[in-house]
Structures are given as C-alpha cells and as structure tokens.
C-alpha cells in the first residue's frame, strides 16, 4: 500500500464553551493516498466540513485545535506558519465548495478569479496566464472557454459555475483536492456530470480527492474509500465496497438503511380506483420581465398547460429539476399563485376561479407543507398558535383550537406539551412535523407538500417519510408531493408526474415509471440518480431510525 499523502491523526478541535458538545472534532483520523477518492460522509453537525476546514488551516477564530496532527507529505501543517500555509493552499491543496454562486466573487470575471491563482503562486506573465486559464476552462468542458473567462459568475449556469470552480482549484495541479459537498446545490443531471468530471480529472492528474458529502448515493458513485462521521468522530472507515455493502457500525447501518431505494415498494391495490378528487386542467402561468424603457423582454412559461388528475387517497409525486415549474404548479394548486388560465378543481369547486373572499372560505380544502422548516414558521409565535391559527380564522374558539393542536401534535409524533414552545426550540425534523400538523389542522381534502424532506438529514428524512406513510394509511390522505429527489418519490408516491420546462412529460404509476420509463428525459433523470446501481441490502435486521417520541433538547 502506498504512503498516505495526507494523514490526519487524532485531530481534536474544541468548540467554544456553551455548545452542545465539548469537541467539534474528537480524535479524527483519516488517510488520503495518491490517486484515490476518499469520501467523508455524515449528517449535518458531524464535523465533516470542519475536518476539511481544519486541514486548510481556515478554522474560524473561535475554534481551536486542541490536539492531533495534520501530516501533509510528512510535514505537520499545524506547525507551519501562515506564510507557509498560504504557499500550500491553492498550490498543493485545492478546494472546491458547495455553492458555486456564493463561493465565487460576484464582482470579478471567472477568468480573473482563476488567473488570481497564477498571480499568487507563480511568476507567469499575463499573456501566459490568459492562455492557461483558457486551457483549464476547456479541460473542465465549459462550452466556449474564451467567453466563459470573460463572464461574471451570475452569467453562468450552476453547473458551469461549479466547473469554473473546479478549474480554479485545479489550476496549479495540486496533489490534493478537497471537495466540500460540491454537488449538493446542483440538479441531479448536473450532479452526475460534475461527478464524472471529478473522476475524469482525478484519473488524468492522479490527484488525491477528499470528498465530503452527506449523500450515500454519491459515495456509491465515486468513492474508493469511505470514512463515516458522527458527532465529530469517525465511526467507521474502509473501502467503499466494505462500508457500503458490509457496514459494521450500527450508525452506518442505520444511515444506509435510511437511504430510500430507487425501487418503489410493492403496494397493495388497497384503494379502489375511481373517484377523482383533484383535477388540474390546462393550468398555465407565464412570467414576463421587462420594463417601460426598452429592457430586453423575457417570457418564461413557468407552467405550460398542465393537466393532471388525482384520485382520493392517493399520492401524486411531481418530480423535476429546478426551473421545471413543479413548485409553481404546487403554489397554483393552493392558489398562492394565480394561474393565468386553466382550472384547479377539488371536488366540484374550481379554486382557480374563486374570488379572494371565496378562496378564504375554501382554503381549508387544500393545505400546504413547505420546504424549509426554519423559514416557514413565524419565529415569534408559539408552535400551538401556529397550528391553531387556521382553525381560529375559520371560526373555532381558541381553547378548542388549542386542544385540537395538542391532539395534532400527538398525531405527528410530537409531545403535546410542546404547543407552548417557540419554533426555534425544535429541531429541523420536529419543525417539519409542526408544519405538517398546521397543514392537517383544517382537515384538508388535499395536502400539497413542496419538497418537505429536502432540507432534512437522511435519518430525519426517513422518519418524516415514515410519518407521511403512516398518515396516508390512518387518515387516507390525498397528497401532491413535490420533490427533486427520485429516491424519495419512489418511496412515497403512488403516481409520478415528471416535469420539464413547465410541461408534464410523463405521468404514470410509480412502479411503472421507475421500471419502464417511456420519455427520454425520465430515463436521463433516472440514470443520473447517484448510486442508482447500488441498492443497499442489509437484510431485515436493521430498522432505519425508528420513529420515536422525540425528546426536546
């Protein structure tokens, strides 16, 4: 076995006093060998990003390294002074970040920001640098590298920005590349391209890649070795094959079991097909930009003539990438957005044609659960009030409404006494339960859930999905479930509608769409799901994070 290029030994980083634990990193050790991709996987707060930041010597001033060594080519980076570290950063160890939009300076051109690498570390002349920049951009397969070099970050697409970011990190051919969730902010097809690009460049340059991710699918896609982190500790490490297929540590097993499978579960045909509850007919929404004085006009058909039906008691998944119009459609169904034309019928009422006043009366027919559990709850109101609010508005006495809120809390698996608490006192998963309780309070005929699990860690996600599944069973919920994650869609949805550029390109039963996709775009999407050829099989021994009555921190 070759000598490790980068070796982290017992790295311990202290958190400022008053945190939820004493150490952000607790004796973290990992080895990175030339030519290998080493994935560090874990949930938020596991310390995986901090490990990367510590290697770069860029920890926030409030954090102090208490012990351990970071050996790079045999030299302990902890003993290198700031000047020396600057020579290593960028030249020896390159880094790419999660969100390429914010990780690039909006005020400088792409070419200029890449050129900065050469200006900082080499004595090349400006003309030589320009040539190198162009070649780098060509290497990461950006169409028209010359134009891209002159472009500002906001003028490129998300995928192109990340390619530019990679070009920048690889400018000086560093022997180590640290990638911190480099594909998390990207669409699934773009993610697949970026992953294969990283593989390709790594093959060509022989660099060692430390790849940080929360997504086991991504791990299955590119990892040679894997380290699993939990609460600042490495709980398991080994080759990708060993960790993915024969995980030993209970946490790893639970994490892998929580990854939704791409194969929809076999569902008993428990619902007699028939009664159509929700009917979207020819609904459309077009956005026009452009002002009075000759700004270039742009017309975006966010939702373009969509027709869908949903039967009582079933769940319709709407899947698609960003910009496909799935969220606009969801908002049109609850009429947070007025459709330009078309009808949205629930039973015999056309929501799209109601006046504002009528809509308020009918709003209990359809309710929505939002994506971000942090932003969608008013931080200054008590959780119980948030849930009871809709009932009070519709004429229920406050005490009775609060009593109902208490029962709803129990229903979604929260402690009923939690109604007196404020949203910030709950965790992300608990907050999403509050959002669900709020939506269910009015006993809607149709529940619209817009990416309800996308902001959650995989273990919490599994619990919330389990909750949705239970509520479907117990309450006979009829649900529209918007998601970009095909794995999630496969688990929760009875029917799937695939959207692209505002149009529905394919509709069908979930099992059918996943097994025999008819439309090319559906096939592309399915093929792009990271780790789609890896199906975790742990037998029946493992239950993924059983839903328990959660304890308040």
């Amino acid at each position: 076995m070759t000598e490790p290029l980068l070796s982290v030994r017992d790295l311990t980083v202290a958190l400022p006093p008053g945190g939820d634990r004493r150490h952000a990193l607790d004796a973290v050790s990992l080895d990175l060998r030339p030519g290998e991709i080493h994935c560090v996987v874990g949930e938020s707060g596991s310390g995986k990003s901090m490990t990367a930041t510590a290697i770069m010597g860029l920890l926030a001033p409030t954090l102090t390294v208490e012990g351990g060594r970071i050996l790079f080519r045999g030299r302990d980076l902890r003993e290198v002074d700031e000047r020396g570290l600057r020579r290593i950063r960028g030249r020896e160890i390159g880094m790419i970040f999660q969100e390429p939009m914010t990780a690039l300076n909006p005020l400088h051109t792409i070419g200029d920001q890449i050129a900065e690498m050469f200006r900082a570390h080499t004595d090349l002349r400006a003309s030589e640098i320009a040539g190198r920049v162009e070649k780098l951009l060509a290497d990461v397969h950006i169409p028209d590298p010359k134009a891209a070099a002159r472009a500002y970050p906001h003028e490129l697409s998300g995928g192109q920005r990340q390619r530019a970011m990679i070009a920048m990190a690889l400018a000086l051919e560093p022997s180590v590349l640290i990638a911190d969730e480099p594909t998390t902010a990207l669409d699934v097809t773009t993610q697949a391209q970026i992953l294969s690009l990283i593989r390709e460049l790594q093959d060509r340059t022989g660099a060692a890649v430390l790849f940080i991710t929360h997504d086991f699918g991504v791990v299955a896609e590119i990892a040679d070795r894997v380290s699993v982190m939990q609460h600042g500790r490495v709980v398991e490490h080994g080759t990708a094959e060993a960790v993915l297929d024969r995980p030993k540590h209970p946490y790893t097993r639970a994490l892998i079991a929580a990854v939704p499978s791409t194969v929809p579960p076999k569902r008993a045909a428990r619902i007699a097909p028939g009664e159509t509850l929700l009917e979207v007919e020819g609904a459309g929404k077009t956005y026009r930009t452009g002002s009075l004085f000759g700004r270039r006009k742009r017309v975006v058909r966010a939702v373009d003539d969509v027709t869908l039906t949903l039967e009582r008691g079933r769940t319709l998944g709407i899947v698609g990438e960003s910009g496909s119009g799935k969220s606009t459609l969801a908002r049109m169904i609850v009429r947070l957005i007025d459709p330009d034309h078309g009808a949205v019928r629930i039973g015999d009422v056309d929501l799209a044609s109601l006046s504002r006043r009528e809509l308020r009366e009918q709003s209990r027919r359809v309710q929505m659960v939002f994506q971000d559990p942090h932003a969608s709850l008013n931080p200054r109101r008590r959780a119980g009030d948030l849930v009871a609010q809709g009932l009070v508005v519709h004429g229920m006495a406050r005490a009775e409404a609060l009593d109902r809120a208490r029962r709803l809390f129990a229903l979604v698996g929260l402690d009923p006494n939690g109604i007196d608490r404020f949203p910030h006192e709950f965790s992300g998963g608990q907050r999403q339960r509050i959002g669900l309780a709020r939506a269910l309070a009015l006993e809607p005929s149709v529940l619209v859930a817009d990416e309800p699990v996308s902001a959650l860690d995989v273990s919490v996600q599994a619990q919330i999905l389990e909750l949705f599944e239970r509520l479907k069973r117990e309450l006979g919920l009829t649900m529209v479930f918007i998601t970009h994650d095909l794995r999630v869609a496969a688990q929760i949805c009875d029917r799937i509608a695939v959207m692209k550029n505002g149009r529905v390109v394919e509709v069908g039963d979930a099992a059918e769409v996943f097994a025999h996709p008819r439309h090319d775009y559906t096939r592309t999407l399915l093929a792009a799901v990271p780790g789609c050829h890896w199906t975790p099989d742990l037998g029946d021994a493992v239950t993924p994070f059983p839903v328990r009555r959660e304890v308040y921190a």
């Binding site: 860029l58 600057r86 950063r89």
Partner: protein, 323 residues
C-alpha cells in the same frame, strides 16, 4: 455598452421626477400667505394699493395659478429661471453667484466624510471587538447624535475665538484681494471649520455602514474561497472584501446628497457662508418665489445628477446590475 444603456434609461426616468417636484413646490408656495409684492412693500415701508396692483401686473402675479405654472414650466424648458424682484437681476445669475460656495462645502465635506469614514470603518472592522473598534463606534455615535449647529458654534468658540487658528466665518478674506494660489489657501483656511462641522455627522454614518458592510462581506463564502486559494491577507482584503463592501457606501452617497444640502443650510448660516442654503432661507423670508423655485430646481438637478453618477458608479462596480 451596458453602462451606457443604463445611463440613458436612468436619465429618461429622472426627468419626470424633476417635473413632479417643481409642480408640487410651485403649488405649495401658492398656499403660503403673502407674495413678492407684499414683501417688497413691507421693505419700502408700505405704499398705496394701486402701486401694489401695478407691481403685481408687472411681475405677472395677477394671472391665475395654472397660467403662471404653465408659464413657469415653459420658461424652465429653455433654462430660463425668471427674474428676482428682490435682487433685481435674473434668478440664474443670483444662483450662479451662490452655487460655488455650496458646491465647495458639500464636495469637500462629502470627500472628507467618505474617505475618512471608509478608512476608519475598515480599521474598526479589522479590530472588531477590540478597544479601537469600541472607541470609534462610541465616537461615531456621539458625532451622529450631536446637532451640527452646536458643533459649528463650539468650533467657532474654541478654534476661532479662543485659539484663533481659523476665521470664524465667511468664505474668504475679501479685503486682502488675494489671487491665484494664495486665494485657494485662504478659502481652504476659511472652510476648515464648516467642512468639519458638516462632515462629522456623515462621517459617523459612513463609518458605521463601512464597518458593518466589511464584517458582513468577510463572512461570505467567496472570501473563504480567496483564502483557500492561498492569497495573502492584503489581497483578500483589497480585491475581494473591499470592493464588495463599497457597494452600500456608494449607494449611500446618492441617498445623502439631499440631506447634505439641507445640512448645508444650517452650516452656511452658522458660518455666514454666501451659499445656496442661505439664499434659500432669505428668499423664503422675502417671498421671492422665482428665486426659491430656481434654488429648488438647481438643488433637485444636483441631487438627480449625483444619484445618476452614483448609479453609474454602482453599475461599474457591480456587473450584476443589468442594463
């Protein structure tokens, strides 16, 4: 090209602003009791009503409000600001005499407040939480909370009367008949106190905005990227932090031009500077409608022009501002 298109559009949109402003002010002044003739009559110690009627006809004040407004706007379109009955010469001439003093005062104050505020803001942000930051923040608040006339008066008492370092008022030493460079030095000497007085308040604002802006930008992702690229701290600061942090500062210049014009009325009064602010005050007292409207026109033009330049500067600094 992008910036030119932006400039053209902004120019077109600022014209209606000017027109609305002028009409509004014209109508507002009609509601104030008394007119130029009343003020003139009062100055010459009264006169017979027939003469007043005659004077009103001479100045066109007997016509209806709408007709006079129409005339006024028509004349403005040819940049004719009318005739001042009080000063006995065209308004444009009256304003032209006073404008340089105000421009000089405002320009110097702005430059002083902006540059020092910027430098101190950067300094405070670099030492956030340490004693220099605390001292600067406290001083800033003190300057911000103190009325400028009080600063002016105390400045005069201390530096002009007690210490005798600078003159107490006026724009220049009229009796000395200085020319060339010597005159420039003289004017600068006279302006030290007024500029400091006017600038201190704005300096405090710039300092606070710059400090906050720097601190915010320093937490952004691209600054971490810059560090990860191995750039030196100076390069990170100047190339990545400073330019981004400057954007709100530049916007602030545009917003504060109007306030600064208002502030200069006070400062010009305290220091007896022959500027636009003093002129405005005098023409209100004397019901010199034409002059007042002229001043408002010129001030509005000034504010619009500064904002126009600020917009262009912002567009130059920030490529995301689309044409």
């Amino acid at each position: 090209m992008r910036i030119l298109a932006l400039a053209g559009r902004r120019l077109v949109t600022s014209l209606p602003t000017l027109v609305v402003l002028l009409i509004g002010l014209f109508l507002l002044l009609q509601f104030a009791p008394g007119d130029t003739v009343d003020a003139l009559m009062a100055q010459i110690g009264g006169g017979d009503p027939a003469a007043a009627v005659e004077l009103r006809r001479f100045y066109g004040l007997d016509l209806s409000v709408s007709v006079r407004l129409g005339h006024y706007l028509a004349r403005l379109a040819t940049f004719d600001l009318g005739y001042s009955a009080i000063y006995g010469k065209p308004v444009a001439e009256v304003i032209a005499e006073r404008l340089p003093a105000t421009l000089l005062l405002m320009g110097s104050s702005l430059a002083f407040a902006f540059s020092i505020g910027l430098a101190l803001g950067v300094f405070a942000a670099r030492r956030v939480g340490e004693w220099p930051d605390t001292v600067l923040s406290t001083l800033g608040l003190v300057f911000y909370a103190t009325p400028s006339f009080w600063f002016g008066l105390m400045g005069i008492v201390l530096f002009a009367v007690d210490l005798g370092w600078v003159p107490a008022g006026g724009l220049e030493d009229l009796g000395a008949g200085l020319t060339g460079f010597a005159r420039v030095v003289d004017v600068a000497h006279h302006l030290v106190l007024p500029v400091a007085t006017l600038a201190l308040i704005f300096l405090a604002t710039y300092l606070r905005i710059m400090r906050a802006s720097m601190l915010e930008v320093m937490t952004l992702d691209f600054v971490r990227t810059a560090r990860a690229k191995g750039l030196s701290e100076t390069v990170v600061l100047t190339r990545h932090v400073l330019r981004n942090a400057l954007l709100p500062m530049v916007t602030l210049i545009g917003l504060q031009t109007g306030t600064m014009l208002g502030g200069s009325v006070v400062v010009e009064s305290v220091f007896a500077l022959p500027g636009l602010g003093r002129l405005a005050y005098e023409s209100v007292v004397q019901r010199d409608l034409n002059t007042l409207l002229g001043i408002v026109f010129v001030s509005a033009l000034l504010v619009v022009a500064v904002n126009f330049l600020v917009d262009l500067l912002c567009a130059r600094l920030d490529p995301r501002i689309a044409a």
